[in-house]
Symmetry: D2
Subunit: 389 residues, 4 copies
């Protein structure tokens, strides 16, 4: 009989759905050392939270996330709320002796993130993981493996672009993601954080500094009827409000190993729906990835025979690839949410083994420091700004 792992989740919007699905899917496809028990979900509105609990498969619901901390049947708190709430919940959960999985970005400021790391370090017996889920897209995990094995040699170039287009239309209304208070930053923290994390993860290096520009193309937008919902769409009634975050961020950087890096995050690249593009060029080969074709990793090996060199389109669906052997026969691709399931798998194994799973809170703090350096550089004539810490 597999022991249980009681889970309490805070938030039940977009990320709450993804996490709920992952908790229930993981044990169906993977052999987990602990069986997730979806004990309780917390939300702001009692009725909607109860409905979400039923639909998403949680045994109970509450409007007070602190209630989770006192429950014996909760071993792990899964934080799926906006970034401004992460620090308070995560620190309280750790202090209450609960493992924590916290959505990204880790926090809205370096100071908050540092406090979270301190709390995690104060409780080494607990797992504290930040949800940079794209690390567990099989093609990305394969990319990391190949770089770690030395297959592309020393990194000379990294490119990390995250291109979306859902804000291109000025008529798209305001939402919490455009409110600096709630979201911390705009494209930079919401999606730029992902490619920063991915480049650091895949290369195994850190960004040492940045030179950045930020831009806000649409400074004023209609107010949606209900501000704060998932999609933020609604009847604006003519009222408008300010966008207080960046619409786009571009910056150059240097990796700790000396390579040059280039980053862009935008929600205004018309036609690019969710193009997370990462390319790494090393001294022995290259890898390239685009989330819009997420089951493929392009791999170039400079040691292939002359005349037969070229990027290989590796369709990452084979037993030899990370995670995919537990799903379907070769050739049957996975989707967006599978990365969340893999995150649950690795998290549960880490809890059972008592080993810290990556990305740790410290990894999340490192991304936060890059975000902070980007904002400071952008405010200072794009001047080279070292990443602190």
């Amino acid at each position: 009989m597999t022991a249980r792992l009681g889970v309490g989740m805070v938030g039940h919007a977009f990320m709450g759905l993804a996490h709920s699905h992952a908790w229930q899917t993981a044990p169906r496809f993977f052999d987990l050392p602990l069986h997730p028990d979806l004990a309780v979900v917390a939300g702001r509105d009692a009725q909607r939270t109860a409905a979400a609990a039923q639909r998403l498969g949680w045994r109970s619901s509450t409007t007070d996330w602190r209630e989770l901390l006192g429950r014996d049947d909760v071993d792990l708190v899964d934080i799926c709320t906006p970034g401004d709430t992460h620090a308070e919940i995560a620190i309280a959960a750790l202090e209450a002796g609960k493992h924590v999985l916290c959505e990204k970005p880790l926090a809205n400021s370096v100071a908050e993130a540092e406090a979270m790391v301190a709390a995690a370090q104060a409780h080494p017996e607990l797992v504290a993981m930040v949800g940079y889920s794209y690390r567990r897209v099989p093609a990305i995990a394969l990319a990391r493996r190949l770089v770690a094995e030395g297959r592309i040699g020393t990194v000379r170039h990294a490119r990390g672009l995250y291109l979306q287009d859902w804000l291109s239309d000025p008529a798209t209304p305001l939402s919490w993601r455009l409110d600096k208070q709630k979201a911390g930053s705009g494209s930079l923290g919401d999606i730029g954080a992902h490619v920063i994390d991915l480049v650091q993860f895949i290369t195994g290096e850190t960004l040492t500094g940045v030179s950045a520009q930020l831009a806000t193309f649409v400074a004023e937008r209609p107010v949606a009827a209900e501000f704060g919902g998932l999609s933020g769409v609604g009847d604006a009634g003519g009222a408008t409000g300010p966008v207080t975050v960046d619409d786009a961020a571009v910056f150059t950087s240097r990796l700790s190993g000396g390579g040059l890096a280039l980053f862009e995050a935008t929600r205004f690249a018309l036609g690019r729906r969710n193009a997370i593009r990462v390319e790494i060029n090393g001294t022995d080969g290259s890898i390239a990835f685009d989330f819009e074709d997420m089951n493929v990793l392009h791999v170039y090996d400079a040691h292939d025979p002359a005349g037969l060199q070229g990027f290989r389109r590796v369709y990452v669906t084979e037993p030899e690839h990370p995670y995919t052997g537990s799903w379907w026969p070769t050739g049957h691709g996975l989707g967006y949410e599978h990365a969340f399931t893999h995150q649950v798998v690795d998290l549960v194994e880490a809890v059972a083994a008592g080993t810290p799973p990556t990305p740790t809170f410290a990894d999340g703090l490192q991304v936060q420091r890059v975000l902070d350096a980007v904002e400071r550089s952008a405010a200072d004539d794009a001047r080279w700004t070292p990443v602190e810490g």
Copy 2:
């Protein structure tokens, strides 16, 4: 309170896993009129079936599929076994008053399929659906919608290729899929059936005749330790056995509207893991699909302005696209198994509405007749062989 729909499943291998996941995932993302209740799963081995029940989420298990027919808590029988068992189980289930979802191909012979259609027709109050799940890949469903709307005009050409490569190595051992008795045919019925169904589905036409060749490239293969498992991999101990099905099938055809069609099914196309390629050229446009990039449909509109014509890469992840609006925000692709979830959604809605869902058993019979014509043509010097019925 949503009424329940009791489901009993027969078989718990590859397809059983896909169906189980779909039954549980559907109500999390879609508003279903009936709530699936996973009552019982039937298998051959008591212990393994019980283990499968627990892992896959079924309330109980049995080694006698007939037990399902007598249970009050079973409203629908979901058949996930090899093709030689479909007719017996499906007919018995319909006669017992149960709805039926039957994996493809509908049967291993036209006669069996006809008997199944007769049983379905004798019970118009029951739903009888065959599991050509690829119809519900969003890009395929979009292709069908576009053709039905007349956007590509009259069909002149169809190409349906299903290319795999997992049998290319002669050392790959025998499995039930290579046994004519169990599988009916080889690539033809296993994967060729899918592209036959897809071309007929997308065009809304039927194949009127065929001119075909079959080939078996590797006539003898190692015997796996346990013959009949999902993957068929095991210790061959030196023994070999005959492959009694086709390894590959190629045929030309005509659509009922006069268009030319070309088909190929093979498991020997090295490098093509699961390339389901369908292209349709009409008098006003074209559509093209490849399952190895399953979230994309390429659409050509001949009425685009001169100089700006070209296939559009439609990334089928938008609210306007079939099924995708119930999943994630635009740009977040789906995977292989989502088509099974969509199949459950449409099936449950059909049961609740009392309307027959497609593909019906009659649709399955039509594919069976094409398969039969292919085999007869191949046996008769590739001579043009009309599809009967």
Copy 3:
């Protein structure tokens, strides 16, 4: 001082332009053993032929192609006229002691082609080459090299599709290409011949038989003001005339080594401008080509390490690749007409060396026999029809 090779060309339309350019470009980029001297061009209309001579770089012009046969400054006759004239000109040229380069298809019938082969065999001291120029697209030449080196093993599957769309509109007027008398056949001989030749060339095998269908989608078309010009576009004045050739051809075949093959030729595949698609799957690998991305060959090697397998996108622009080292630095792609320049290079080298260049007239006859078998099979219920000879 390099000796000269006197060239006389017959015809100065589309192919005449391509050949003229090739004769003049070849010595600029390649070290040729003989220097082409563009002595004379023959055409039907004196004024237009003289104008073509000046523009295309020929020293003189004539309206009588037989004049070329008597000129001492003509060593080689380059035939760029429609297929119905090939046999007469080529045989007369060989009998007059001239080398011959003849555009494809070799002839409009097997009998004519046989007579041409006989004439070539009667003059082994002369070079007789047929202009299947696509063989000398670098990516195609590389494909042949790889197959000849055994890199993909024994061929199991070949696919040869030639998809165009310029006749899709029924308003496109008649031209000589739609006149059976002049063109011999339609898509089949015009473009299908190319993919037949390419599959035979790349595999080094021959097609042993076919099972075929032909279709004419638009049976009647406007008459262009001037019938017979290059583009055939003009004022139709309301008159229409019959299309006497096939619009599309589909057929299955077998290679002499046992592999299955699939062919299609059409000018009705909307959106496909000039998609010559050839894919070969062997026991050890695969190669795939599409002329719409003509500088690329996709190569799959089944012996790549597990987990790192995938089609390599080989950008065929390197010194190690056929022909490309004589052009530009790596990475600078070539275009359509370069294959004609390579044809001239190999032809001139063959003339100088006294060795027969491929494709020979016998190769052209072999294609002709396949075309003939296709037409006979299509007329006989698609029955399997062996390729004679």
Copy 4:
């Protein structure tokens, strides 16, 4: 009788070959108002220049480029030498009353470029064009046309990447391109200049400032036997010498219309042979180009109907497209050197019409100023550095 345009060319290496071919090819495919007469080529070595003249089709040769200035049969001087010689030759040619076509970059410094512009302005009756030839790749010319027509609206993002890999191997020897004295800069001026020009050309805007980093990955390289040749490959004999230019450049920028831009130029991106990648996102659509698939432009129109949006793969080979109608039928792609032919066509037409052709020397100076700002920013902590002028 078409009047002649006497041309004298300086330099006969890589660019000299490309220009020579273009001068001779242009009148074969295009109706030119003046017929190019290849009068004389100048080079350093008498014997090699004479050989080049014969091979490349020039009537005479000389070792003194100043000789061209005094010849009556030279109307235009075509400068194909390294950048350090451009200013002197171009200014002298203009002062001698000759039209000038000068290879890019215009010069090795802003001061030189300013002097050249001054000379051009002093002779408004003469044509002075700089050879940013990629502007005349049909897909690029189409991109410019679409942006100028307003089809993508106001530009928000531009990305210009030029990725090569031929210097990745540290064993690749030195050549003049790695010598600051001769080449001015490394990747930045050699290839970065192209994407700077392309982004400014396509958008019709200028870069207002930059924030840049430069890097030299391999500081010391073997000395080739003959330093200064085209490829620089040879016997190094153990000696090494310093690389005095950048190996790679990355910078962010702003367009005059407010859009954000991102640039990269490198010869160390393994697997990218000649990837000139330009993407522009506007308020109404996007365009994307990659030179490794040079006959294609990807175009996104935000006004396409919902559900049918996506990048169109426009295969730029149609009569409606820039330049292509003069070549082959639709679907037959062009190669690298065609852009040089188009450059000749537009240049000859400009000379005949007396109108200044773009890119003018002033356009070349503008690129030079961006290069200069990049170097200054890189030397000043990547600080934002306005582009002067």
